[in-house]
């Protein structure tokens, strides 16, 4: 991979809060990580999960609860949320990978509905109001994540931003490594030709399950990050619309590309925030993008670029 590209992106990420509204930037990072984690499953294992919001939102609730009600420090909260999502991923994955293709998608969707129900009913979730007023707390018990640094007259939440950015880099790094690992090679083989991978002696289910757990844990990490940024965990985070959105982000950017999901997430989140005034038309626009993507643009824009340049991005 091109070292300069990564360095440029890193620099962009480090400087972004001075140019872009930091909270928005952090939202982008959360969804970029979410989409990248989802893509580990769809793009590199060939499994379409239609219930990934369960991990994203589930972790947000767990992190929020632990930080708010039990006073955990934010880094431990994120860790707990990530582990929880991984565990949940293990349960959902074990059930879902018994089925393939379309059935897999429907089973994950339905299981995610149960998580939605729990998020509505469990005593600590705040029902339809969600878990609100989650404190950002002291990182490692030392650094106040609420601290704003005034730059050119504008107070910027730099401590929080760099914490989130660091988490994003960590998560994205794990995904990148997993894709380019011996494990990732087998995943690609399974995606390309599952019966053949099986006949070569690979226990396909086990690989799928590990990929599922990894993907859900990292999706959970993204959810935990979002919960610290917005200080709330809500039913939106676990709803099937969110599951659909992450599919769209990945599809739009490019399934099975390293940068595609992040770029797709940036585009969708930006669109949503720019188009709040068009009201319900946003749903129509999102739906339209879906249709166009599926019909003419299946590689996504990063994927199409990669094809033009004959490189994998």
């Amino acid at each position: 991979m091109n070292r300069y590209l990564w360095l440029a992106l890193l620099a962009l990420g480090l400087l972004a809060p001075f140019a872009v509204y930091p909270v928005f930037m952090m939202k982008l990072l959360c969804f970029a990580l979410f989409a990248a984690a989802f893509n580990l499953l769809l793009g590199y294992t060939g499994l379409l999960s239609f219930g990934h919001a369960a991990f994203f939102g589930g972790a947000a609730y767990v992190t929020g609860h632990l930080v708010k009600n039990l006073g955990l420090t934010p880094e431990l909260g994120v860790l707990a949320g990530t582990l929880f999502a991984g565990l949940l991923g293990y349960l959902v994955g074990s059930l879902a990978i018994r089925r393939q293709g379309i059935y897999f998608a429907m089973v994950t969707l339905a299981l995610a509905q149960i998580v939605y129900f729990l998020a509505l009913k469990l005593p600590f979730t705040g029902g339809e109001d969600g878990l609100q007023g989650i404190p950002r707390g002291l990182l490692f018990g030392l650094i106040d994540l609420n601290r704003h640094v005034t730059v050119g007259g504008t107070p910027l939440p730099l401590a929080l931003y760099y914490f989130i950015f660091a988490l994003f880099c960590l998560g994205f790094g794990i995904i990148y490594r997993a894709i380019h690992s011996p494990f990732g090679q087998v995943l690609k083989a399974i995606r390309e030709n599952e019966p053949r991978a099986r006949s070569l002696g690979y226990k396909v289910e086990r690989f799928k399950l590990i990929a599922f757990v990894l993907s859900s844990a990292l999706a959970g990490m993204a959810g935990a990050m979002k919960c610290l940024v917005f200080q709330l965990a809500s039913l939106t985070d676990v709803s099937w619309h969110t599951s659909g959105e992450v599919v769209l982000m990945t599809l739009l950017g490019g399934v099975g590309t390293v940068l595609g999901p992040a770029a797709g997430a940036f585009t969708v989140v930006t669109l949503q925030s720019q188009l709040t005034m068009v009201g319900p038309w946003i749903t129509v626009i999102i739906g339209g993008i879906f249709v166009v993507c599926v019909l003419v643009f299946r590689r996504g824009f990063v994927g199409e670029l990669g094809r033009l340049l004959r490189r994998s991005l």
Binding site: R177, Q185, R196, A197, S199, L200, G201
Partner: protein, 256 residues
């Protein structure tokens, strides 16, 4: 002749193997014995159950009744991957390659299995580079060395089959199951694959389903003729081709 007792040197044996699909018997009471070191051909008219037998042997299908023994061990209840780990490797009727990977990666995925790194998602795939030499050697042996970096999906059909054999060989199988290795090929490709199979058979056993009787005649030590899921005849090419039942049921129709 390696030995007097055929059972002692039987690498694969099925006893009363049957498979029913909703009342329709695809395979009935099949007693098949494959001798170590042989190239054993499974032939028969369309719908005779050859591919079903393959799927049963590799556990892509679960037998309704009967047992399968490999090297004297009962493998009837094992998973496809476990059977592969024992050294029974199959090919498919439709070419079984990984179209999105390069030929080199295709072979390397097979080599990788023995390295015990396959679950390591935290390691860089650069550690797989050490397998490249062996992968190249295997590609070389099937004449694909100069195409090692191509896009597999865009290779010609015959080359895909060759790649498939290289991938299978990478696993050093004890028993190779080849499902119609020359199906849909031009004469030139057929000759090349025939030679490849011959070459691959050194030191191992091969069970193949094949339609092309010329290939069967060239390669097979022993032939089992299936009809409607049951054995019709068995023996060398010379024996089988003289069998009047076979002539009628299969050869007749095949040559007609």
């Amino acid at each position: 002749m390696l030995t007097e007792n055929p059972l002692a040197d039987c690498i694969l044996e099925t006893k009363r193997l049957s498979k029913e699909f909703k009342g329709f018997a695809a395979v009935t009471d099949l007693n098949l014995q494959v001798q170590r070191g042989h190239i054993h051909a499974l032939i028969g008219p369309n719908g005779a159950g050859k591919t079903t037998v393959f799927n049963l042997l590799t556990k892509f299908l679960t037998p309704t009744t009967g047992t399968i023994h490999f090297n004297g061990i009962d493998i009837t209840r094992e998973e496809p991957a476990e059977i592969a780990l024992r050294g029974v490797i199959r090919s498919f009727q439709i070419s079984a390659v990984f179209p999105g990977l390069t030929p080199l990666e295709n072979v390397r995925v097979a080599l990788q299995r023995a390295t015990n790194t396959s679950y390591q998602f935290w390691k860089s795939d650069r550690c797989l580079k050490q397998l490249d030499d062996r992968a190249m050697a295997l590609l070389e042996s099937v004449g694909l060395a100069e195409l090692s970096g191509a896009i597999t999906g865009e290779l010609a059909y015959g080359r895909k089959r060759a790649l498939e054999i290289a991938t299978t060989l990478a696993l050093e199988p004890k028993l190779m199951l080849l499902d119609e290795p020359t199906q849909g090929m031009g004469a030139e490709d057929v000759d090349r694959i025939t030679a490849l199979v011959k070459q691959a058979s050194a030191g191992r056993t091969i069970l193949m389903v094949e339609h092309n009787l010329k290939v069967v005649e060239t390669l097979a030590d022993r032939i089992t003729v299936l009809q409607r899921g049951a054995i019709l005849a068995e023996g060398s090419y010379a024996e089988v081709s003289q069998d009047p039942q076979v002539m009628e049921a299969y050869m007749g129709s095949a040559h007609a």
